[in-house]
Amino acid sequence: MSLTAPLAALGRQVLSALALIGHVTLYAVETVSHLFRPPFYGREFLAALIQIGWLSLPVVGMTTLFTGGALALQIYAGGSRFNAEAVVPSIVAIGMVRELGPVLGGLMVAARVASSIAAEIGTMKVTEQIDALVTLSTHPMKYLTLPRVLAATLAVPVLVGVGDVIGIMGGYFVGISRLGFNASAYLTNTVDFLETFDVVSGLIKGAAFGFIVALMGCYHGMNSGRGAQGVGRATKSAVVAASVLILAANYLLTEVFFTA
């Protein structure tokens, strides 16, 4: 084996990663461009809105409820080391709306939605349903991708908002039942220290994460390999890519919102 072989292998990996970034970027640009070009399939958009938004509510709600409760316990335990137990309501609220609500909501939607979109579209591809769409004069990007991406971009911020409220309620229940907080004082502390931008930044993150989730599901589904293995690989890639991109985008957005 030549000494340059490892370097060549590394180079191939880098080039393939760059090509993937290019493909995904072009796919995203093409998806957005279809928003401004008719036709728009309203029925498919509404179906996607229900699938992505309404049906994800239980999983997002449960996740944020338990996370809010655990967060209250952790902050109380940590705060008690320097007599700062009183900060529990405000830190739970700020932590939920700025970080945990959008990130956990986004990750749960990624697990539930990116996988199902990739599996559905991947199966459509291997069973020639995508080709059938084309022969029926229907653009797959308009019919499959745009409705899902738009629905996720609009639905995930709503899910994040609802998740924030449920998460804060989780902290509230733990605070008053396990940590001895006064109910009225807990709510006052929650509201007093929370700023509008804390909430807005979380909702903007939610929109970005929704876009990422649906885009990854559609992209990997459309580029699925043949057979059950190809669809399985596309599904796995969609969830992994969506999750990693959500965490990366979260860091970038946090830098933009809170350090600029």
Binding site: P39, Y41, M124, T127, E128, Q129, D131, A132, V134, T135, L136, S137, T138
Partner: protein, 248 residues
């Protein structure tokens, strides 16, 4: 008339089409035969623009298929896919009337449903099938729904990709008869891909044999048995010995 002139297509190192020349006169039924992996489906998908040829030209009535209004071009076609390719999430009637529910051929919903039920009847399916989902149907019924969808908008040209694959001999006979009747009745130009020699004799006006990416023989179905072409003879008689390697 559909004309393929020196069409080449490769996937990586695999040169699937190596200069396909084929003419399908208007109103005739052309059947392309050949072994698995010889590029029959690729040739068909090249005509529809689902696969882009590396070189060569494909014309429809003298016009390059890659030029002009794509929607108007596709509106002239109907296609029956090998596995049916029905949309799982839609009931049967919406599958059949897909083109009539959206786009340039859009009709009111009630009218589209009526047309769908009429087309289902045309392919021998009862109206109660209309509200079922594709997963509730047998393979033969799915093929018939696919056929109903292919003819729903009364296209000028219909493509059939392996229309009898996976069906029992009786259902294959039913599908072959339906295809022949529909093509004659509609006066459509048809292009069919199949391995099934019974289908070839039932459907074809003309036959083309594709092997190693080129058309080895083409002519009227009546001359097929006396062609004298060793490739065609081996294929139509299903012999293991001959110029076509059995292990590919």
């Amino acid at each position: 008339m559909i004309e393929l002139n020196d069409v080449h297509k490769a996937f990586g190192n695999n040169r699937v089409l190596r200069g396909v020349n084929l003419t399908i006169p208007k109103g005739t039924s052309m059947v392309i035969i050949g072994g698995s992996g010889t590029g029959k489906s690729v040739a068909l998908k090249c005509v529809l623009g689902l696969v882009t040829p590396d070189s060569g030209t494909i014309t429809l009535d003298g016009q390059d298929v890659t030029q002009g209004d794509r929607d108007a071009f596709l509106a002239r076609f109907g296609m029956l896919f090998q596995g049916g390719a029905l949309f799982d999430s839609l009931p049967v009637w919406q599958n059949v009337a897909f083109r009539l529910l959206r786009g340039s051929l859009k009709r009111p919903k009630a009218e589209a449903r009526e047309i769908a039920i009429e087309k289902l009847r045309r392919v021998g399916l009862k109206p109660d099938v209309a509200d079922k989902f594709p997963a509730e149907l047998s393979g033969g019924m799915q093929k018939r729904v696919g056929l109903a969808r292919a003819i729903a908008a009364e296209p000028e040209i219909i493509f059939f990709d392996e229309p009898t694959t996976g069906l029992d001999p009786i259902m294959s006979g039913v599908i072959n008869e339906l295809i022949r009747e529909i093509v004659v009745e509609m006066g459509a130009t048809a292009m069919t891909i199949t391995h099934d020699m019974t289908s070839v004799r039932a459907i074809a006006d003309n036959v083309a044999m594709l092997h190693e990416g080129v058309i080895k023989w083409t002519g009227p179905v009546g001359q097929m048995d006396a062609s004298g072409d060793p490739y065609l003879d081996q294929f139509i008689h299903g012999r293991a010995e001959g110029p076509i390697e059995a292990v590919r």
